[in-house]
């Protein structure tokens, strides 16, 4: 496919065009502003062979391509957001030409107005919390039959002194089976209990932080393989803060950090307000089961 399209990164209000300063967009393109209705659209011209519909469908599933595009998109939005209130637009939004972009700015003026009312003077901050591994006295949590354990049950009486038992194993074949079941039951109970405690921790952290924010939105917990963190992630929330709230928020996080020795908290930001564009999507304070997945 030949031809080009116009990629839209975001829309800013009152942006000094110099702030873009030849910023680089997706696929090495140069970013420019399209001005209409008092708003500036941040755009660049891309090739249809990369951003046509079929190409996009394929490219979005290629992590390297997705990463490059996401980073470039973010760079542009982030740079504008440091200079003026900026509403990010969903990744991979494309138009025929600048004239169409100008038309959209005019058509969607009221909607952008509402977005700017919500985000002006505010930034998004990310908070992730991890449960620190607590040393347990119990056996490993996977409670499958250990190697060497007789699957038939009962024939190998006390041949294997299984590790991590609390209750003394009663003598006799039936006793082994019963003890095994009880151990599994205990383990399940302990695990449920631990999960409940973790959920409570997450809710407590969130409740305290939400008090110091304008709005909050939960993200799904990140896959440990992608976050690179083995500890379970118990909270992954974006908070929308007034600019003057940010230092206080930081102090609250630090205080929380000192108090909760079994939780590790990571803060990122300021982010452009990606997560606070649609008011309908903002989540209410969560129940205790809200965070972990």
């Amino acid at each position: 496919m030949t031809g080009t399209a116009v990629y839209l990164y975001g829309v800013a209000r009152g942006l000094d065009p110099d702030a873009l300063g030849g910023a680089e967009g997706v696929a090495g393109t140069t970013v420019r502003g399209v001005v209409a209705g008092g708003l500036t659209a941040l755009v660049s011209t891309v090739r249809l062979e990369d951003y046509g519909e079929a190409a996009l469908r394929a490219n979005l599933e290629d992590l390297a391509w997705l990463e490059a595009t996401a980073r470039a998109h973010h760079e542009v939005v982030d740079r504008a957001a440091h200079a003026a209130p900026t509403a990010p637009v969903r990744i991979a939004t494309l138009y025929r030409d600048d004239a169409r972009v100008a038309e959209v700015l005019t058509e969607e003026g009221a909607r952008f107005g509402a977005v700017f009312d919500r985000i002006t003077g505010r930034s998004e901050w990310g908070v992730k919390a991890y449960a620190r591994a607590v040393p347990t006295t119990a056996a490993p949590t996977t409670a499958g039959p250990e190697p060497g354990h007789d699957p038939g049950g009962g024939l190998v009486s006390r041949a294997e002194p299984l590790t991590g038992t609390h209750a003394p194993t009663p003598a006799g074949a039936a006793g082994v089976g019963t003890a095994y079941l009880r151990r599994r039951q205990d383990e399940r109970r302990r695990r449920a209990e631990a999960e409940r405690r973790v959920a409570e921790r997450a809710a407590a952290v969130h409740a305290e932080l939400a008090d110091h924010a304008v709005a909050a939105r939960h993200h799904p917990a990140q896959d440990p393989r992608l976050s690179g963190r083995p500890d379970p992630q118990i909270l992954n929330v974006s908070y929308l803060l007034d600019d003057e709230q940010a230092p206080g928020f930081e102090a609250v996080v630090r205080a929380l950090a000192e108090r909760m020795t079994d939780v590790e908290v990571e803060v990122t930001g300021p982010w452009p307000p990606y997560s606070f564009i649609d008011t309908g999507e903002t989540t209410p304070p969560p129940g205790p089961r809200d965070a972990p997945r």
């Binding site: 740079r79 990744i91 803060v267 990122t268």
Partner: protein
Amino acid sequence: MTAVLDTGPGAPAERVALVDLLDRLLSGGVVITGDLVISIAEIDLVHVSLRALVTAVRDGLDPEEEQ
């Protein structure tokens, strides 16, 4: 506990983590219908990217880690 604060407008000390970025970029931002890829709005970006991530994770890990 540790609180990592990574501030500094315009001068990120390190690149933002891709996972954090995708949390925001794929489910956030203003959704407007574009001209060329009208149906992209209907593609569930989160699922699309999850497939990409899962594939990459599978390919990127060494086999023993995967066990």
